[in-house]
Symmetry: C2
Subunit: 563 residues, 2 copies
């Protein structure tokens, strides 16, 4: 019996039995789109009772129905145990079936239609068009991972054939490939209610790699999370995958997340959020009896270096682009350009143009009251900083969760003397830093902490004058952008959305693009196993027709008997 037919037979059976008994009462099918406020633990719903909370409409400050309930300790434990059980089957699920599953999730999310957009807009104050495009991006991302695992070569299969004649010792047959780690805890981001949340990049990449996922919803958009969670669990059912491949836990404080990260059945974690939150979870991941990989994407000021020639050639374009990039999503982007280096000579018009655009920009409603409060505090510290000139920051404070855009200015000398000026302002704000000489730039770059991105605006001639800056940035960031803007992270095979600490907890990784799946695997090696006992990826005749490294050469060919 092939694994495929085995899975179809047994997993079907498994689900049916369960469906027929304890889970029949709450068939999670998307025709039931009423929100319940309860966690999703395997195929069951959580209990009412623990830590009630609500989604809040940041535009009105009003609580949104229904009441949400935090998962209790027993539920967190059950989600992790179910995930561990599901792992036994899911990790052996062939790529083609995982691809069907990922595509089904996308289809189910698209099926949520206007219900999803309406709820997400209510919970985040982001415009409907942004929610729609983020949904499309999330679904495209799921489909890109589906393509990856359907094609299959991503597992880095390697074969070194035996040589029985080698002296003094026979050379054994060694084969290896990447295998999933086990259940992954995913922490949703506040600023991407879809693309970095329940079925976002971490979930898509962990599932693609063969790992069950236990998602901790973000308290700022529980309704959005529940809708996507229902779509996801429907896809699990549609694809006859085992209970526990996916669970969704609510919990507004740190308790649920802490318990999850400490759970022995959780084998990795993914997080997008604040530096303090990320570092707290990093500590937990490292302090466990069995430390686990933990991928946190935390903070970045995404420096932009504008060179004189580029400024002369494209002043308007740069001003317009900067304004759009700084204010995109109310500046609540991890790739928001928070530091812009401009030549002292010749940047007056650009600064004035940017000042006018930002001053004319109405206040933004931030994602949550606490993000708004944190932004106001941080901006106010900048506004009162002796080394900083305030160019834009609304004269009157807007009401509720609204915030004014802000632009500040300083010079390179002051910037270097005050490391606190490189602090991230999470919101629609940026700090302009004037420099007198392009030779200063590589020194400035050398002093920066790790970043997700760095952007350079330069003519081709200038680009070759600043090779020092370019090579310094290669050691500091995950992505170098030329003559563009850092916001807008293309979902593709070559994307790196990562970077050295503190941009992320692990600079060897990316959370966007297909390389993200490599975060949740490890190589496993088979010595002298017969073909029949090997995974399909490593069998002689290459039944999956994938690219493999055979005796050191990339090939799709079958392995022949002779070396």
């Amino acid at each position: 019996m092939t694994l495929g037919s085995w899975l179809r037979k047994n997993v079907n059976l498994f689900s049916r039995v369960r469906l027929g008994t304890r889970f029949a009462a709450t068939p999670l099918r998307s025709k039931m789109l009423e929100l319940s406020g309860l966690s999703i633990i395997g195929f069951q719903r959580g209990e009412r009772g623990n830590g009630p909370f609500h989604g809040i409409n940041p535009s009105t400050g009003k609580a949104l129905a229904p009441t949400y309930f935090a998962a209790c300790a027993d539920e967190v434990n059950r989600a992790a145990e179910l995930a561990s059980k599901a792992f036994d089957i899911y990790r052996r699920t062939p790529g083609k079936q995982k691809a069907l599953f990922l595509r089904k999730i996308a289809e189910r999310i698209e099926g949520l239609g206007v219900t999803l957009v309406t709820r997400a807009v209510q919970e985040t104050a982001l415009p409907a068009a942004r929610i729609s495009s983020e949904t499309a991006r999330t679904c495209n991302q799921l489909r890109l991972f589906a393509e990856l695992v359907e094609e299959g070569s991503w597992v880095d299969a390697r074969i070194d054939q035996a040589d029985p004649t080698r002296q003094p010792l026979r050379k054994p047959d060694i084969r290896s490939m990447l295998r999933p780690l086990g259940p992954v805890a995913v922490f949703c981001a506040s600023n991407f209610p879809l693309a970095f949340s329940v079925a976002g990049g971490d979930t898509a990449s962990a599932l693609a790699a063969g790992n069950p996922v236990v998602v901790k919803a973000h308290h700022a958009h529980p309704g959005t999370a529940e809708l996507v969670g229902l779509a996801l669990i429907d896809a699990v059912r549609d694809c006859d995958l085992p209970e526990g491949v996916f669970s969704l836990l609510f919990g507004p404080g740190s308790q649920v997340g802490t318990q999850l990260m400490d759970h022995p059945q959780i084998k990795a974690g993914g997080f997008t959020g604040s530096r303090s939150g990320g570092q707290a979870l990093m500590k937990l991941a490292g302090a466990r009896p069995e430390p686990i990989p933990f991928y946190a994407e935390m903070s970045s000021v995404n420096p932009v270096f504008v060179l004189p020639g580029a400024l002369r050639e494209r002043e308007d374009e740069i001003a317009t682009g900067l304004h759009a990039s700084v204010t995109l999503g109310a500046g609540q982007f991890c790739t928001n350009p928070g530091l812009v280096f401009l030549p002292e000579d010749g940047s007056r018009d650009l600064i004035e143009s940017l000042r006018q655009k930002m001053a004319a920009t109405p206040a933004f409603t931030m994602l949550t009251g606490s993000i708004s409060a944190a932004y106001r505090n941080a901006v106010s510290v900048f506004a009162h900083h002796a080394a900083i000139e305030e160019l834009v920051w609304g004269e009157t404070e807007p009401p509720g969760a609204q915030c004014n855009p802000a632009v500040f200015k300083t010079n390179a000398r002051s910037f270097l003397a005050h490391p606190e000026l490189a602090t991230e302002l999470f919101g629609p704000a940026t700090l302009l830093v004037t420099y007198s000489d392009i030779a200063q730039l590589s020194g400035i770059a050398r002093d920066l902490e790790g970043q997700l991105t760095a952007t350079i605006h330069a003519t081709e001639t200038e680009l070759h004058q600043i090779s020092d800056l370019l090579t310094t940035l290669e050691t500091k960031v995950g992505r170098i952008v030329l003559n563009g803007f850092p916001t807008g992270v293309e979902v593709c095979h070559s994307m790196v959305h990562g970077g050295p600490f503190p941009a992320t907890s692990d600079g060897r990784s990316t959370s966007v693009g297909t390389r993200a799946a490599l975060r949740f695997v490890r190589p496993v090696c088979y010595q002298d196993l017969p073909d029949s006992a090997l995974p399909d990826e490593l069998k002689d005749n290459n039944p999956l027709t994938i690219w493999r490294l055979v005796n050191g050469k990339f090939t799709m060919a079958a392995v022949s008997d002779k070396l």
Copy 2:
């Protein structure tokens, strides 16, 4: 000017100037093979003075000349700073030049000839034949990494071409590849004075990946370390590479290692040794202001599962193989088979045969007095354990650093009731565990900690009866061996010498085989850079003729203008 010609011009100049001035006094050329007892810091030697110590001949207990001196804080700092400076050049050194360097190191080590063998035998009590074969393995390993970086495809180059017509937003040109992390601290192992020491796997893989290396020598074989260090620094000179690409520090305590791991210019670490030592360094790596990747290979009992059918067919072969594997290198192998599961029925003859072989094996001289003492203590705990039967352990304790081989026996029930029986005995000892039913085995495997290897002796029919065991082991170990023995780690592309914690600090990695280079890199992404500013690996016309993932397809073809 190409980078190659630039390097030749400037690095030559750089070395010459330095040679002519402060370094002229101690030209590190291998014609001067007298040992000095001093650290090698870039192109300079360390100072006499700090923490004097000696290599000890474990066979005699006598100190070996010369006196060695620990690196002082200033020297450790200098080595790290020089490495950081060298990184600016070395990380841009083309693969072909790195290959020349790695081959030159191998050649220089081979040039040490009998001097190296003699010293290593004196310091380790390992037989000359073992030292010679380990030297050959070390040099082959360097040459395998040379092939890897010369061919060049290992950098996982990816290109997604721009699409200016895409709506609503132009698709940018995105390219990425793996780039080195920065200076790597390498901690030498006591049990492999060559293959896991100064120019061993960690050093070879870190250098191949483009990282300078600061090696902390093992205090048990300082002379061997110095000889190899001299060979290595000669290779640096021969290849006109910058000062700081390699340094070698002596320091018998934990001070030098601690300072190294805490140094801000050190960006990763590699270690082979004890669990306590590895975990102490793991903590340091995680607690730095900038946490860094740290790869420790620590402890493993390498379970062997012998099934009844295989036992019937190959009893003698298994007994002989086990005896050889348990006693290889006095059992001081990280892949030593420390746990052997045997069927209760039918294993009497094998046990008796193994008992006789082990009882007839003379005492071994261990690598150091402290390893010998630790082995005696650990074996003595087993010998006095109520759940254990002692089959072999010499009646009289041999003198000095000598130790008797040992064989213990228990049954599966007792083994499961006493988790302490899965503790590694580092030396020529093993614990036989009898089981009554093969159905017990997957449960036993499930309870094991992470391991480097697991071995199964089974007929092909049995192999399909124990698919549960096999799939459980896939989640527990780095390498599964069928009908062989775990000692003997093939150096090849597909090898995985790693495994989940506590076998290693990071189960996503291997310390043997070409995948080891992937430990010391991270992906870096370039958005919309012109061809002239891109690394060669990512240029349109593929000047290095490497395999790349272009728009999602593996190809060696140049990138054409049209998508």
